[in-house]
Each structure stands twice: as C-alpha cells, then as structure tokens.
C-alpha cells in the first residue's frame, strides 16, 4: 500500500535523560529492536491520507492487522 509509510517498532520510548548513564537507554532506543513472531505494535504513517501516525498491531507471521489506533491518543 503506497498510502502508508512504515516506520517500525512502536514500543520503544525516547529517553528523557541526557546524562552519560543513559547511554544504554539511548542505544536501545535508536538501534535495538525486538523481532517478535506474532502480534507486534508498529508505527505507520498515513502519508497519502490524513498524515496521522498510527500504532498498528500486526501479526508478523500472517500480516493480519489486529488493531489500529492514533499514536497521539495512544501515548
């Protein structure tokens, strides 16, 4: 679907601390992703539509979409 842009894992949270001790948290946030087989929460952007970021729960084995919510409301 060209209508959406896929971003990836929606379960990671941007760290708030800028302290050196937060390095691991930042590396996790920027680089490390789980790759679950099964339901997974992902960020999708409705690029060709309403420009909303969505949290899509998708089964990575079947591509079945289990739930969709607006990221703004979900957070």
């Amino acid at each position: 679907m060209e209508e959406f842009t896929y971003r990836g894992d929606a379960t990671v949270t941007r760290p708030e601390s800028l302290d050196a001790s937060a390095t691991d948290a930042w590396v996790d946030y920027v680089y490390l992703r789980d790759n679950p087989a099964g339901p997974h929460k992902e960020h999708w952007h409705h690029s060709a539509g309403c420009h909303a970021w969505l949290v899509v729960t998708r089964d990575t084995r079947t591509h079945e979409i289990l739930a969709v919510e607006f990221a703004r409301e979900g957070s």
């Binding site: 060209e2 209508e3 409705h46 060709a48 539509g49 309403c50 909303a52 607006f70 703004r72």
Partner: protein, 152 residues
Amino acid sequence: MTAAVREAYGVDLPAKSVTARGKSVNFIGYGPGQWLVVSETLAHEALAEDLATRLKGLASVSDQSGGRAVLRVSGPRARDVLAKGLAVDLDPRAFPAGGAVTSTISHMGVQLWQEGEADSYDIAIFRSVSASFWRWLTASAAEYGYEVVTTS
C-alpha cells in the same frame, strides 16, 4: 471550536471524513482535527483571513488556495474513470452522499469529496502536478468520451 464554527458559518464541524456545507463555506474533514475549507464566494486569501479572524485562538489556519486546483468529475461513468487511479470504493453503498477522502490517484495526492449529484465528485489536487493529473484524467476518460467545461 465546534461552537465557533457553528456561530460563524452555521454548520456543525464534521467529526469524520465528510463534507459539511455552511454559509459560504464547505468544511471537509480529512483527518483527526484537520479540515479543508472550500468556498465559492470567499476568494483566495479572503477565505483564510476570514477563518483566521473568526477562529482566532481555536485553530491554526494555513492558506492553501494557491497550492491546489479543484476539478469536478461528473457523469454516469465518473466512478469508472476515477477507479482507474483511485483505490477507494466510491459506490454509494460504501461512500455515502457527502463523503470525503484523502488518498492518491495515479500516485498523486488528492482530496476528493462528493456533494450534490450522486455521480459528481470534486477533487483537489496539488498545483505542481496538475499537468500530470490532467494527462491521467483525459487518458482514463477517453474510452468513454468526455467534455471539458470551465467555470469562472
């Protein structure tokens, strides 16, 4: 904001992707908290200024009147023509009167809404792709035959 719109334009701001025609303006919902406002009487910047004044502090208004062209495709084969580029079901069962949608036609972003006659659709396209869009539209309609009518 709903109250301000009702007060100013005499229409309930649509909560979904539909059109709502008020006094001199037409509100088209195209996403959560976003509306495209179209007017046939308030020309160009006048519309944005009117909205900005009446909805001050309630909404951000950005003039898009120079950036879009609006065309109307109507006729018994209108849906067949649009189907050649639009992956949206326009059948009245799925797209009721007054429906609106933001999508792509032939890879070009569009906002499309339906009002008035059942087989008539208004399409807002971006100015820069209007030549490409026109090529697609005329190529897609050629099979059925079409007539170009310009309005002022």
